[in-house]
Symmetry: none
Subunit: 225 residues, 2 copies
Amino acid sequence: MTHLLLVDDEQDMVDLVTMYLENAGYTVSAALNGDEAEKKLRELGPDLILLDIMMPGRDGFTVCESIRSYSDVPIIFLTARGEEWDKVRAFSLGGDDYIVKPFSPGEMTARIQAVLRRFGSSTEKRETIRYQTLSIDIHSRTVKVDGTVVGLTMKEFDLLVFLAKKRGRIFSREELLETVWGAQYSGGTRTVDTHIKTLRMKLKHEGASIETVWGIGYKFVDGSV
Amino acid sequence: MTHLLLVDDEQDMVDLVTMYLENAGYTVSAALNGDEAEKKLRELGPDLILLDIMMPGRDGFTVCESIRSYSDVPIIFLTARGEEWDKVRAFSLGGDDYIVKPFSPGEMTARIQAVLRRFGSSTEKRETIRYQTLSIDIHSRTVKVDGTVVGLTMKEFDLLVFLAKKRGRIFSREELLETVWGAQYSGGTRTVDTHIKTLRMKLKHEGASIETVWGIGYKFVDGSV
DNA sequence: ACCGGTGTGAAGTAAGTGTGAAAAAACACT
DNA sequence: AGTGTTTTTTCACACTTACTTCACACCGGT
């Protein structure tokens, strides 16, 4: 049974959406603010959170950021049409999707299912690497920049994941060939350059996250150092 | 503290390489032949072995083969340029990497770190040098002044690290060329001056930390002495 | 004031990297 | 097996960067 946590400060909206979702076969818990949401998240361990952005006190962004520091639970933002909000920020904070109110029951369940499917079975813990507006889902091999999917080939993806997992550390072309391509690879080292090039291009502005260390190799920047 | 065992029959080479490695922060033991090497391996349990191939008596290959029958310690082969040797055999016997002489200190430490990292050596530490508003991260080769990153080239970085690690001590240009550039360097000593100049410029107000000792060389100031 | 040591800016030189295109290889689909 | 598509690798060239050298100005100590 899939269990959802709905976070919204308006009781009317909570009642309406709860009805939608229960009709669709989910069990639903509700929280009226961020603190209550995090409490219930720990107690109930829901499979997905629907999080309203506009709330008195801590807004949805703040709550999401807090949750992401200890949990990878999927989060879908709720926002009213015409409301001023930052789509890029939503994804960079670790949001997985968003729904604009008012929405139909069908749209809501479709999006929930899509997100859950993307995460695989609810028991399977997914691994996601995030850096600014870049998110890398290891299991589905999906890379997003600003929330839009970027199509990467196998080698490109493996290379990106390896660098992003060890951000801040420098790897020579030989090391990258050995770990990403495999020890039996026998070609030239310039192949790495070409893949770095296409990665930078496909990642658009996030391509700058992969830096050249002159005379040594490449590294993924580490903002914390 | 990472401990290395250096095996080479030439005393000059042992002295030189030992100096390189101790400057890089390792402790070093030396053995002049295969028997001594295996004895010290059992007694000291080093984290990595640097093994010269061309040695009188048992050569490096034979020693490696013998060691591999009872130990998985990482082994890096040393070989002179142009020397006849079998790269494939080196790896098939269980070697982890090789370095061609003559080599620069930077190349040597880079390869050692790479091998240790591949083995997931727990002794690897995140080393940071700090002095006032200056911070130097050895592994990511990142230098910050007042919290903002300063882009240094390879030689500039190596030179700064060497001076900053031994703050207060004075080094002649010849000493700096030998330890930072490597023994095979053959150019003039004024190159050091130029690198000092750019370092001082790039480090902004922290550039004053590198002082000229007239008629002798340079030193990194030591505030505590 | 002298003389050798040092700071500095501007060159030259060598090496490393970015890039576009083409070749080669892997793959999918008949 | 044959075809077409995508991915991967190679290559050549242009470009950037790091390193070194040099000339000249400046400085420090005697």
